[in-house]
């Protein structure tokens, strides 16, 4: 089955023939993806396939060069925007390895982020008191003690706490498109459930998700509408939730054995 259509109408994210490189090495080699509002797409694939690269290229990380192709977010070409403007346009990336910013309190960081985005939309910045209220709410939602608002951004957080902190940022920023890069990896079942609940609570008809994961486990909790396999910089297979189960059982090798070109033809 294929979720791609020829029309860009009503797509939350439409990636067309995206080629991108890092340090002159081609990583993405003709990526196509169409995500409609409200949909959840899972991307799976072997290590080094280009999953994280996809997230970075879409969100405008420096050092990642777009060679050709386009990516429309809610109808707007984002590939020539600055990273912060893509964020303000509604794109959110939950990092595979969240970085620490020592001495900058989580609360201050969150407020700066939210205010920057509100300002870009012509809305007023929150007062400190107002923001504290929403931040506390979000903190509870991801099951982090309130003390985490005062601590430095990710400073000394455990792996699971960092991932939940990413989720808290997502909840506060209310993006249109969320890309979660292996947010489940390294989490135990309980923590994974917290993540899944967080995502599920944010699902809405005008918000879409791309969930990068290695394990079908997470997809038991977050039901994807589509599952794609990314290999060597392009999508080599797409299906529904059952594809994830197949992959879990058989690994990726059976996909590699099929000629990629044919598959691509299929998908297009």
């Amino acid at each position: 089955m294929s979720n791609t259509t020829s029309s860009t109408e009503n797509s939350m994210l439409k990636i067309t023939d995206l080629h991108a490189s890092v340090e002159e090495k081609n990583i993405l080699k003709g990526l196509n993806l169409d995500v409609k509002p409200g949909e959840v797409h899972a991307i799976m694939g072997p290590n080094g396939a280009g999953k994280s690269t996809t997230g970075y290229v879409l969100s405008g990380r420096e050092g990642y060069t777009v060679e050709q192709g386009s990516a429309l977010l809610d109808g707007v070409e984002i590939l020539d925007l600055e990273a912060e403007d893509r964020a303000r346009a509604g794109l959110f990336l939950a990092f595979q390895y969240p970085v620490e910013i020592p001495g900058v309190s989580n609360l201050e960081f969150l407020k700066s982020s939210v205010d920057a985005q509100r300002e870009a939309r012509g809305e007023e910045a929150y007062t400190s008191a107002e923001f504290l209220k929403v931040a506390k709410e979000a903190c509870k939602q991801v099951n982090l003690p309130l003390a985490f608002l005062k601590r430095g951004v990710n400073e000394g957080f455990s792996g699971g706490e960092k991932k939940r902190n990413e989720l808290m940022q997502m909840i506060l920023l209310k993006p249109k498109l969320c890309i979660l890069d292996e947010t489940d990896s390294g989490l135990d079942i309980d923590a994974m459930q917290v993540v899944a609940n967080g995502v599920n609570s944010q699902r809405s008809p005008d918000r879409s998700f791309i969930i990068v994961t290695h394990y079908q486990r997470l997809l038991d909790y977050i039901k994807p509408d589509f599952v794609h396999v990314l290999s060597d910089g392009k999508i080599v297979k797409s299906g529904d939730a059952s594809l994830a189960k197949e992959l879990e059982a058989e690994g990726y090798s059976w996909i590699h054995n099929e000629p990629a070109d044919e598959l691509e033809g299929d998908l297009l």
Binding site: S59, A83, E84, A87, P98, G103, S105, E108, S113, A120
Partner: protein
Amino acid sequence: MTEQIDKALEREYEAGFVSDIESETFEPGLNEDIIRRISSMKNEPEWMLEWRLKAFRVWQEMEEPDWAHINYSKIDFQAISYYSAPKSMKDKPKSLDEVDPELIRTYEKLGIPLIEQQMLAGIAVDAVFDSVSVVTTFREKLEEAGVIFCPISDAVHRFPDLVKKYLGSVVPTKDNYFAALNCAVFTDGSFVYIPKGTRCPMELSTYFRINELNTGQFERTLIIADEGSHVSYLEGCTAPQRDENQLHAAVVELVALDKAEIKYSTVQNWYPGDENGKGGIYNFVTKRGICHESAKISWTQVETGSAVTWKYPSCILKGDNSVGEFYSVALTRGAQQADTGTKMIHLGKNTKSTIISKGISAGKSNNSYRGLVRMNPGAQGARNFTQCDSLLIGDQCGAHTFPYVESRNPSAIVEHEATTSKVSDEQMFLCRQRGIEPEKAVSMIVNGFCKEVFKELPMEFAVEAGKLLEISLEGSVG
């Protein structure tokens, strides 16, 4: 990313304007006659002149030091003017109404209102313009509490015994080249005396402004906290933006008698010169305090300006159980060079010192921490803790750490921690991915790095320091 940061670091120097004020300025040159003239401009007693002349002879015998990690073109001491004062100050205005409005406007523009009604409540200001003190606010109110806060040139007349007893008692004339020069030619600065058991009812602050071209500023500050007293003092400084280098060679002496506490904070924002190192202030400063029994001196400095900074606020922990602290943020960008740190000299038993130094280097700048911790044989049970962190922005700058430890008492404990980190691509990207502008991101990351020091500043100034860093780091002045 480097490009983003470079952009973020371009800034204008907000305090770079020149005030149009008619001044009486000495012709350049340094000799005994000049010193006599400075002394007579201030109508000084004979003993003060003698003290200056003696210092001048000592200075002539000394060599300019070259051990610091800084490079600058040799200073021509004969090309500098050693005295400049607004003409209007000649017949000593008795109240603010008599002060040239242009002078008052200058300070207003710098955010230092001198009209009492507009001032920050609870802060008394001594405003020093080139070589003279323009006005000292809240003087009467302070004197009610027995606190003396006045220009040092007044103190020489009004409190000669205190001045004679303590001037040069902490920093001897021959201490170093720049201190000796200061002793010979110092013009103005603040004098503070807090009587026994008194908690100074307000923050004291001195604001130094260099305006005149080709003049040096040689200020002299003396703070005496008598037994069991307490004072918090802040110093701020700016200068116009000029292509020529200007010399600032100050001496600050602190005396904390038994159980007294002095908190001395500096927000230094002298003109740093342009991106290529043209112009800016040469800041060669000697600051030292002596702690008697159970006394405490705490230095907090935020250094963002000057082309060259050479400065080591120090504590002599003479009395048993005395405490010395040094909290420092030094930011260098463009072609700035800073060699700064502290000396903690432990003489008494159970003396304690803490050193927290945060160096931030950006552009092509060089930032060095130089610190000495000395445990003398009598310093039984003394302790020092030093933490020295460097933050690099970009890859063309340098951070250096020169810790010296001399321990002559086996029971003394010296701990030293040092880190070097970078504002990383990952941190910048995280901020931008959340919608934060790169300039704002850099300043947020840098402020986070400095947090431990900022929390030591008095409230009002912590905000000011944070803003100053932000301005220093922002492309457009906010």
